[in-house]
């Protein structure tokens, strides 16, 4: 996988990225970064890859639930500062729907309005959702498709191919936790308060 041209965007989202490192990275091109054996360049490359990996996994693993007819929300507690990237991704995927992602500390809101993404940072997820609930005056949380998914997912398992190792490798616990998958799996009913 090549280093993307906008790698600074990913680097700045890394939890350990300092101003100094970002400043130094500005002088390096993506091509150089791809092949360099300099210790700092290698570190930057590794950090970019870590953020890219988490972005990819969160885009895959975060599950959304409807809140009334205009809102989709989901749990997200990433290690790196990628909340906005992920929220924008889901807003683009679901045009004209407000997408809210977050956890007990912070939340991100994105809305794709005719191709333009409108954003807002919020406090606790539960608070943001309460605000939206009162704006829309909706009390109903909407249908969850978890049961449909579970019945379908179980049907895809073929015992003769069982390989727990490769399954764990592709769905690391840490990423499942960040996307709230384990919380959803372990509780039969997840309420707004769980966020």
């Amino acid at each position: 996988m090549r280093i993307p041209d906008d790698f600074l965007h990913y680097l700045s989202a890394h939890e350990d990225c300092s101003e100094r490192l970002l400043f130094r990275a500005k002088d390096i091109s993506a091509e150089e970064l791809d092949v360099s054996i300099d210790a700092e360049a290698k570190r930057i490359r590794k950090m970019v890859r870590q953020v890219q990996t988490e972005v990819h996994r969160m885009e895959a693993f975060v599950r959304l639930r409807p809140l009334g007819p205009c809102v989709l929300y989901g749990y997200l507690k990433p290690r790196h500062r990628i909340g906005e990237i992920i929220c924008d991704f889901f807003a683009r995927r679901n045009p004209q729907t407000i997408v809210v992602l977050g956890n007990g500390h912070e939340s991100w809101i994105s809305f794709n309005y005719g191709g333009e993404i409108l954003r807002k940072r919020g406090a606790k997820m539960a608070e943001t959702l309460e605000q939206l609930k009162s704006s829309f005056n909706c009390s109903e949380e909407g249908r969850d498709v978890k049961d449909i998914w579970q019945a379908y997912y179980d049907s895809q398992y073929s015992p003769c191919h069982k390989s727990a190792k490769s399954s764990h490798k592709r769905m690391p616990r840490r990423d499942q936790k960040a996307a709230g998958l384990r919380m959803v799996q372990n509780k039969s009913i997840v309420t707004l308060d769980d966020f």
Binding site: P69, T97, I98, K120, I148, W149, Q156, S158, K162
Partner: protein, 366 residues
């Protein structure tokens, strides 16, 4: 970066009045699971589609066997009039389960709601032949049509072409889907006659594949056509499979061939046949990659087969390299460099073909 108030976002969303709930979904879990089981052995390794804008492949979940579950992979109906000796849905299976069938509306509802919730990237729709193959194909197309046209569904759609599908149905499927496929199942017509008494290899399968090849344009079917083989159901050897695979890549132009090791199912005429080991599937995939991705010449790949025409349970790349080193006309450094320059060569080829990383990211490890 536009930052706005929550009230403004809420007001705009209310004005656009989009229903994030989608159509109501109420499905019998038994039906979901029976029709889902019907596609358990169908492989979909990637949901990448090189359309404009490009659709990246995302694996949303993995089953306990480590395989990606990123499409809602299901049968339209599990009622089938074909008599395939390996299949539990076949008319000659003595332990057929209850028959179920979806309606296009149900499939659309399930697909949309799971897509919105980010469980899946799209729909993979296959089917038994029902009482009338043409009718089932029409219903499958109606499902895809509703998704694309009525609900402006942007996700991935893979449609299976039923053996008896008409040319006009195939054309419509190609316009609606990202990828279509028709399963070869057997390596040759004689093996097919052992496996099924009702399917004609030439007219039901190869001819339909040629229709797809001939109808393909730069606009339709961005992810091309693929096919799948059941490995070891009729005692065919790997060499026969390789010959067929070469034909598929060169003459039909399939993007990928998938292999599925045969496992005997209770109640089918093949229930007492020997199950094929998983590694056979893995070795075939490795052979496939040597040809398709590493561009080894078929004559080099022939070295990988043993005297019975089978691939041994060893890395075919190493077997080929050892064989070629012994050849007097070929200096050693040639072979070694070829065996070793894998990833760089692959990256170059990938760039040349403008082929996606996702599409080529599933090399079975051996």
């Amino acid at each position: 970066m536009p930052m706005v108030t929550l009230e403004k976002i809420a007001r705009l969303a209310q004005e656009s009045r989009f229903d994030s709930l989608g159509p109501a979904v109420d499905v019998d879990p038994e039906k979901l699971s029976s029709l889902g089981e019907g596609t358990r052995y169908d492989v979909c390794a990637s949901t990448h589609s090189p359309r404009n804008p490009n659709l990246p492949g995302i694996c949303h979940s993995f089953s306990h066997d480590g395989r990606c579950v990123s499409l809602f992979k299901t049968l339209y109906t599990n009622y089938c009039s074909h008599q395939c000796n390996y299949c539990t849905n076949a008319a000659n299976c003595s332990r057929r389960t209850a028959t179920f069938s979806y309606t296009p509306q149900e499939l659309v509802g399930i697909t949309l709601s799971m897509y919105r919730a980010n469980y899946i990237e799209g729909l993979f729709l296959s089917s038994g032949s029902g009482r009338n193959e043409d009718h089932i194909m029409e219903r499958m197309l109606e499902t895809a049509r509703m998704l694309r046209q009525k609900h402006e569904f942007q996700g991935y759609i893979h449609l299976k072409v039923l053996p008896g599908a008409s040319r006009s149905h195939i054309q419509e499927a190609m316009e609606l889907a990202d990828r279509v496929s028709i399963n070869l199942e057997a390596a040759s017509a004689s093996h097919m006659s052992e496996m099924s008494s009702t399917k004609n290899y030439e007219s039901d399968i190869l001819q339909r594949q040629r229709y797809i090849r001939d109808l393909a344009t730069s606009e339709n079917l961005p992810a091309g056509q693929t096919t799948q083989l059941v490995v070891g159901a009729s005692n065919e050897c790997d060499e026969e499979i390789f010959k067929r695979v070469l034909y598929e890549y060169k003459e039909i132009g399939v993007r990928r061939v998938y292999y599925s090791a045969f496992s005997p199912q209770d109640g089918t005429p093949f229930q007492n046949n020997v199950p094929q080991p998983k590694w056979r599937e893995v070795r075939l995939y490795q052979m496939d990659w040597l040809f398709r991705v590493y561009h080894l010449h078929p004559q080099e790949i022939w070295h990988a087969f043993d005297e019975n025409g089978l691939l041994p349970n060893a890395d075919p790349k190493m077997t080929i390299a050892r064989e070629l080193v012994d050849l007097p006309r070929r200096p050693e450094h040639c072979t070694l460099s070829r065996a070793a320059h894998g990833s760089r060569h692959r990256a170059q080829k990938r760039q040349e073909n403008n082929c996606s990383q996702k599409e080529t990211g599933h090399l079975p490890k051996g």
